[in-house]
């Protein structure tokens, strides 16, 4: 088991390194020049060279990449002299745009994106599993068909459509909620929830539809297994059969995709955050892309990759515990 864990962790490091390298190269190939952007509207060649040197962009790309990797563990200095900035472990560099350490920016925005992701996840699990299991138990009936048609319809609506519709209906015409302005959970829990209700709903509707379809089919599959028949034959009450035996085994594939989805969302829901004006990691990413702020883009990409890879490992470990065969 320990050897398996070590192997997996090395794999994670490899994936992150590859993503880091690819992002670096993509930015290197782009026509944008961060030094020229930082230098201002007009900039003499001499000054541009000074700025480029200060930003470390006069180094060859492999050297910049090496410095970045070493910097993650050993820390780095930006500039020299009494006002040089030092960023310690884990140093992901500084934003070209505002000279804030990328790590601080990420940690500042992460609670916002986590609030969005976790709240939405709770909503879609309840909605999706509820609809899926109900449909599976009433397979072929009117309720099943209604739920599934509804799920297909909702899943086919892109989030930027649902989000804008929700804003229009609930806020602009209905006046039921104010325009969302993110409020931290710690200051005002009620305001936090009220302001996130719409973004949660927009995201949850999309995911709930997919989860309803997924859980319906796994539930149908599970309920057709011989052990269910056995359990029924033994005279177990229906709710015990459904929940303890059917749902439990049907949950496994659902949890697999849930881990991945939550992992991806933790690193920011770019569209949802942009439409609702939520200052999360996704919004940070969007703004950084607009300004060619490469260190921030790289930081968010790594964070996203980290969460997704982490979710994968967690799921695999869960499998490994349940099923010793996957350990090899």
């Amino acid at each position: 088991m320990i050897a398996y864990l070590v192997r997996r962790c090395l794999g994670v490091a490899g994936v992150l390194l590859a993503i880091c390298a690819v992002t670096f190269v993509i930015f290197y190939l782009l026509p944008s020049d961060p030094a020229s952007a930082a230098c201002g509207k007009t900039c003499s060649p001499q000054r541009l060279a000074e700025v480029r040197h200060y930003m470390g962009l006069d180094q060859p790309v492999w050297r910049q990449f090496g410095d970045y990797l070493v910097g993650i563990f050993a820390g780095r200095d930006l500039g020299s002299g009494p006002h040089a900035l030092h960023c310690g472990f884990p140093c992901l560099g500084y934003s070209y745009d505002n000279a804030l350490p990328v790590w601080d920016l990420l940690m500042d925005r992460l609670p916002v994106s986590a609030s969005l992701a976790v709240g939405a996840a709770c909503m879609w699990l309840v909605l999706g599993l509820g609809a899926g299991v109900t449909a599976a138990l009433k397979k072929g009936g009117l309720l099943d068909r209604t739920l599934m048609v509804g799920a297909v319809a909702t899943a086919s609506l892109p989030v930027y459509f649902t989000a804008v519709m929700l804003l229009y209906g609930v806020v602009r015409v209905g006046g039921l909620l104010p325009y969302p302005t993110y409020t931290p959970l710690t200051g005002d829990p009620l305001g936090w929830a009220a302001n996130l209700l719409l973004p949660w709903t927009a995201l949850a509707l999309l995911y709930a539809a997919m989860y309803a379809r997924q859980s319906r089919s796994s539930m149908i599959e599970a309920m057709a297994q011989p052990f269910i028949r056995t359990a029924r034959a033994k005279g177990m009450p229906r709710h015990v059969v459904v929940v303890k035996h059917g749902l439990r085994s049907a949950l496994m594939p659902v949890l697999t995709i849930f881990g991945m989805d939550l992992g991806a969302l933790l690193a920011g829901a770019v569209i949802t955050e942009s439409i609702f004006g939520i200052p999360g990691v996704g919004r940070l990413f969007y703004d950084a892309l607009q300004r060619s702020d490469q260190p921030v883009v790289l930081g968010v990409t790594l964070l996203a990759a980290f969460f997704i890879v982490l979710a994968n490992v967690a799921i695999d470990l869960l499998y490994a515990v349940v099923d010793p065969r996957v350990r090899n």
Partner: protein, 581 residues
């Protein structure tokens, strides 16, 4: 179109669009063509009357400030915000809509500066009793220190006029390593003397830039000064979470008796950042609760205009001053086909400028440009109509010039625009097809637009490009846009046409050396048509900056110098009790 589809396209459009230009100068009494088409939006007038002291003013923004550090602040609306609220400069602009707003008055200084040595030396004296937010006195040395900071490569991005004008500054790289600049002298705590490389007639205007505001050396924090500039103005920073929220509170050490411009009506100013553009418009139009005491930071979404103009009670809360920027179609003069004068001149007649107005938000937000210099720089008189008065072009004359240029059947040409300007490129494509010019459109993301067209070796034949003067003087416009010596191989900005003309450059140097500001300004105005005759670019639009103010806002108008941004010196509330906090 139904209401909700409009709301939707507004929100979608906002995520794609990105304003490429800063914004604005207002000129209420220009005699422009097309004035009759303009619906009655508030230009040259003050929204909401005179404010009452107190309350919280909210600013709703879709973005963070690029830089609040006065040495690095070179985005017009942010220069307005910074120099009206947080730092005072040696001189500043009057707080008034229309032309009066481009006039300067002393701010930190007692007068507009005293030139000597034929305009090569400028002396300013600081008013007595000026204080920072901690009550310590503002010294002439602190103004010198911030001027020096603007040379540091670490603190890049700010106005570069100090680097252009100061003597002996060639290899100077800022004070962070302890070196100082000999050409700025401070004989005592209240006197500062600038020694320039050449006569600069309009130096009184130059020192309105945030570069010429005080930063005490003891407050130096390098790049992190951006997060918390030390205040010499009427407000100080309470909290600033970049990209989220900025809160300003009163600086109790600011003395209104020393300040003839800033009124500082609100007790607090809260800037809420990272919101969505279309939603900001909707909130301010609705003006419910605290939104009534809010103004918007960025241009109103063009899609919102249909929600505003038909409703008089909302329309009167819309400011739409001219940005003072000129939007142009740059022709790449470095190679065929536009190394040919006749073919370039043909484009002046071939372009349908009315179609550009329509594609860019309509006549409420645009005037047709008839010259390179914006009306704010030319005064009441507009530049001559070199290429006729038709706003839709003159196909016959264009064809004749094409024939003279050896291309009677037209030619293929490339144009690069940012994604937000695609409709405008299509309108150009259509109007140029009338004379056989087949335009091939390439769209690029706004974030890489200027780098793409600024790569001179791979530059397209045409590009939409604009320039905004830094203060009302032709010296901040034509030399940046048409001086061939400013062209850089990569990251080329300003002279997108790559226009190199010895006669024009010689004349620019002559005008720059004039010691009489009025004469120099007239010379710039006269140079404009002679450059137009050489046709390096087709002037297209003088845009306006549309900004909405809430129902409870008073004293709001677009300031003519800062691209039409609301003047934060005098904005306030009708009823402070209605605002929250």
């Amino acid at each position: 179109m139904t209401r909700h589809t409009r709301a939707m396209s507004a929100s979608l459009g906002a995520s794609l669009a990105l304003a490429l230009l800063g914004a604005c100068t207002g000129n209420a009494d220009d005699d422009g063509a097309g004035r009759h088409q303009r619906p009655g939006v508030s230009t040259g007038t003050v929204i909401g009357g005179t404010p009452v002291k107190g309350g919280t003013l909210t600013v709703l923004s879709d973005q963070d400030f690029a830089h609040l550090d006065p040495a690095r602040n070179w985005v017009m609306p942010t220069m307005d915000f910074g120099s009206r609220l947080l730092y005072r400069t040696l001189t500043t602009f009057k707080s008034s809509p229309g032309k009066v707003g481009s006039e300067i008055v002393p701010d930190l200084a007692t007068d507009l500066g005293r030139p000597s040595d034929g305009g090569r030396t400028w002396t300013f004296t600081l008013k007595p009793g000026l204080k920072y937010e901690d009550g310590t006195p503002i010294k002439a040395q602190d103004v010198k220190y911030n001027v020096e900071r603007s040379f540091a490569p670490d603190l890049a991005g700010g106005p570069d006029y100090a680097q252009r004008y100061l003597a002996g500054a060639k290899d100077y790289t800022g004070p962070l390593q302890g070196r100082h600049l000999d050409s700025v002298k401070t004989p005592d705590d209240r006197t500062i003397v600038f020694q320039l490389r050449r006569p600069v007639a309009e130096f009184s205007y130059t020192v309105t830039l945030p570069t010429f505001s005080p930063v005490p050396a003891s407050r130096e924090k390098g790049v992190q000064y951006d997060l918390r500039p030390f205040s010499s103005g009427p407000y100080r920073i309470d909290t600033y979470e970049r990209g989220k929220k900025l809160v300003l509170v009163r600086n109790t050490h600011w003395d209104p008796a020393t300040d003839q411009v800033r009124k500082a009506y609100p007790d607090r100013i809260v800037v809420q950042q990272g919101l969505k553009r279309g939603q900001i418009d909707d909130r301010i139009i609705a003006s419910s609760g605290p939104d009534a005491s809010a103004v918007e930071w960025s241009d109103m979404d063009p899609a919102s205009i249909a929600k505003v103009l038909p409703r008089p009670e909302v329309r009167k809360r819309l400011a739409a001053e001219q940005t003072g920027c000129t939007d142009m179609l740059a022709l790449n003069t470095s190679r065929a086909p536009f190394d040919n004068l006749e073919l370039r001149q043909a484009m002046q007649y071939a372009v349908d400028k009315s179609a550009q107005v329509t594609a860019n938000g309509g006549p409420a937000l645009n005037d047709i440009a008839t010259g390179y210099l914006p009306p704010s720089l030319t005064g009441v008189r507009r530049a001559d109509f070199i290429y006729g008065r038709s706003t839709t072009g003159d196909v016959e004359k264009a064809k004749k010039l094409l024939a003279e240029g050896g291309k009677p059947d037209g030619f293929p040409a490339t144009i690069t625009v940012s994604t937000g300007d695609k409709t405008r490129a299509e309108a150009l494509q259509q109007s140029l097809s009338r004379v056989g010019v087949r335009l091939q459109i390439q769209t690029v993301d706004p974030s890489v637009y200027y780098d793409t067209i600024g790569d001179t070796k791979h530059a397209p034949d045409m590009a939409i490009s604009g320039w905004c003067p830094d203060y009302p003087s032709g010296s901040t416009f034509l030399p940046f846009v048409f001086d061939g010596r400013t062209i850089r191989e990569k990251g080329n900005q300003g002279n997108v046409s790559q226009f190199r003309d010895k006669a024009v450059e010689k004349r620019m140097d002559e005008i720059a050396a004039m010691s009489d500001a009025t004469r120099a300004n007239q010379a710039w105005i006269d140079l404009d048509p002679s450059i137009q005759r050489k046709s390096p670019a087709v002037p297209l639009l003088w845009e306006r900056k549309p900004l909405l103010a809430g129902d409870n806002i008073a004293g709001a108008f677009g300031h003519p110098v800062w691209t039409g941004q609301f003047d934060f010196a005098v904005i306030g509330l009708k009823d402070p009790a209605k605002s929250q906090g």
